[in-house]
Amino acid sequence: MKLIVGLDEVTDADGFRVGGKAIALAALHRSGRAVPPTVCLTTEAYELFVEQASLRAVIHQELGRKSFADMRWEEIWDAALRIRSRFLRAAIPEPVVAALKEHLATGLPDRRLAVRSSAPGEDSQATSFAGLHDSFVGVRGLPVMTEAVRKVWASLWTDRALLYRRELGIDVDSSAMAVLIQSLVEGPVSGIAFGAHPNDPDLVAVEAVYGLNQGLVDGSIEPDRWSLERQTARVVEHVAPAERQRLVARGTETEVESVPVSMASIPPLGDSQLVEVFEAVRATEDLFGAPQDVEWTFSDDHLVLLQSRPVTTATAGVGDKRAWYLSLTRSLQSLLVLRDRVETELLPAMDREAADMGSRDLGALDTAELVEEIEKRRRAHDRWVEVYSRDFIPLAHGIRLFGQFYNDVVGPEDPYEFMTLLAATPLLSVQRNRELARLASKVREDSELRRQLQVGGLGDAKFEQELDEFTLEFGEVTFGSQRCFGNRARVVRFLLRLAEVPTLAESSAEGDVESLNERFFAAVADERHVMARQLLELGRSSYRLRDDDNIHLARLEALVLDAVGEGHSRLRMNGPGAEQSLNLEQVVAALRHPNLVVEPRPEQAQTPVEEGFRARPRQLVGQPAGPGVATGAARVIETADDLFRFQAGEVLVCDAVDPNMTFVVPMASAVIERRGGMLIHGAIIAREYGLPCVTGVPEVTSLISNGDPLTVDGYLGIVTVSRD
């Protein structure tokens, strides 16, 4: 078994042992190109590591809870987080440590190093992907290096790697990772060159930045871009960035900084260097037989090639979401920018649009104007749903970014310990629930008030005013295309029910937050405190937005419903055929064509198992999303009415918990959701109230019926149905 090999020893047949990046680098080295001094920790070291720590069984368990194709990206995030946590806590086998030590002593003792992934098969033309696995620069000394190696191995199982490879098929047993250990070549200028321009195969594209090219690869630094004709090297376009910045190594961290004023107006590459890069990328194409995507740097005026891989030819087809998966991972800097945009531009703009629409008097519109208004509101809603997917969902990565940092520095046994720190932030849904709890306690304590409410009254003037204030503030809560608190009578009905429950305590203990906060900052080196604080703030913003964004979106949906409701009531007044519940399209069609006969919405057919058989769930597996065990009768939530039937102590079972429906959560004994993940609303709100929670249970709302006696195991992610 050879754990470490030099580039001289690598042949083209060693793909599985050293990975695609090492094979390419060895070929460049053999062809006489300058490459950084490099050795490769082979996949045999990875094998030894995962075998010794039984990590394959862990991966199987994490990825095998349900069919991988059925896992949502949020569930994959969670599985990846748990796998990474296990990788980081496992010991590196002694022979591997010894081999690394020997290499450090004899190879490059005092140099700063780069530790890069080299996964077998990753650099073929169909599967080439930049930045999919982790690399670390500025590594010095054995402890830092072993840590970096462990993280590179773990990066084989990151969410983005899993999501990406899902499309290609994942084999846990044959997946392995080699690691390149290189001298860090810190040239003043570096970049990437594409032998075939992504948009025009007749051009070569060159991108260059000052400093390390990692900033260019991860998107945190905008480069200068050139397009050159493949045949003549003539420059057809040069696009300068808005601002020239550079990434520099500081210890094992990297930092973005502005370039000195003297360089700010000068492109990083001069004409002759541009041609040199152009010629190198064309030469690599001759060497490998296909256009290459080459990372390079200039060191002491010499061009050094850092890596080469085929330009990916796979074009994004319909349904290919791989680019979006990759966009889910963003750097701290880009997430901070995104957060500012969301908090200061997008959410206020969304609220302004809602307020503007809400001020229109629907009753004053004629039929044609109403149709126009319905469609306008629908378009606005659709537009914001798109923004939600493009900007709000990726911002949720702030939670993961903080979680990963926390786990790296603190190394807790529970990989979700960090959530307690994030939860110390006020959520709109929790504020609403507190207000409900306050009103309910008034009802509970005042028997006269309770009596009045029970017979249809609204209490005294003060209580009535409080009800009005609540309806005004939270009346826009919608669920399943229905308003929940649209009128006072519904609020009263719910308050009476809530008043029957003795006390509803929130869980998050402030003491825990404080001690975790101390533990976290004590584990972070002083010079990284600013970054740690930024990450924590970002994590909290992301956590808050994760819950709040749906409430903002629901305001818009409520406005669409209002307009559709107005259309509905006009149709009812105008004659027969409009009694049944119609959807938006049907209302619009019926308003436009008064003689049209509208069909009621088709009922969803239940698929029978097979004649003579009745399927009953006994034990359903999902993801553990809130620790604890609870038993209770099931309450399956499909419509807003189901929410108002909720009894204290029942288990909330639903397709997808929406912050707009979580007002019943304080009464629940546990939460089960079909949608999976730790970052979904069900898990967030269950954690807020300290309830056991299992998410990602396939078909849960059709398998479980109201009243089924359930045991919810939030530690293991298992729901047991005890009926006989």
């Binding site: 990825l63 095998g64 003579g612 006994r618």
Partner: protein, 143 residues
């Protein structure tokens, strides 16, 4: 249902569970499922302990699974436990029993036709199908 059918068709052997005076006992048996999956057919020698157990208590279970003795089995293997009552197959039903059983286990012809062998069927009342380690669905059969 698909998983159950696949299991019952692909596997040659199942683990039969019986008991006597509360003492549990398991045995590996070759089996075949009837096309409607409501019966599992198997055969045993007259002097076996499982038959003695079944004579005193006809309630039995049979586990059929597709494990391969690898770590991935914990999440990838499927298992079905059939629970029901065992009866002897005789008379006119013997021919159909032999057709089905020997269709799957042709090498057991002399065993099945031996006078010392008894043909049996487990009339299944419920299957418990486990996938992904702990995901369990019960399939109850209408009586």
């Amino acid at each position: 249902m698909e998983i159950l059918r696949d299991l019952l068709e692909s596997q040659l052997l199942g683990v039969l569970g019986t008991q006597h005076d509360g003492e549990p006992y398991t045995s590996l048996v070759g089996f075949v499922a009837t096309p409607d999956l409501k019966q599992l057919l198997f055969a045993t020698g007259r002097s076996t302990r499982k038959l003695a157990n079944l004579v005193t208590d006809s309630r039995a279970s049979m586990l059929v699974d597709n494990r391969t003795n690898r770590r991935s089995d914990f999440t990838e293997a499927s298992a079905a436990t059939a629970v029901g009552v065992v009866e002897q197959v005789g008379g006119e039903e013997r021919a159909e029993f032999e057709r089905l059983f020997l269709g799957k286990h042709p090498h057991l012809e002399s065993f099945v036709r031996s006078p010392s062998c008894v043909s049996l069927r487990l009339r299944v009342s419920v299957y418990m199908v486990a996938t992904h380690f702990q995901h369990v669905i019960e399939l109850h059969i209408d009586p």
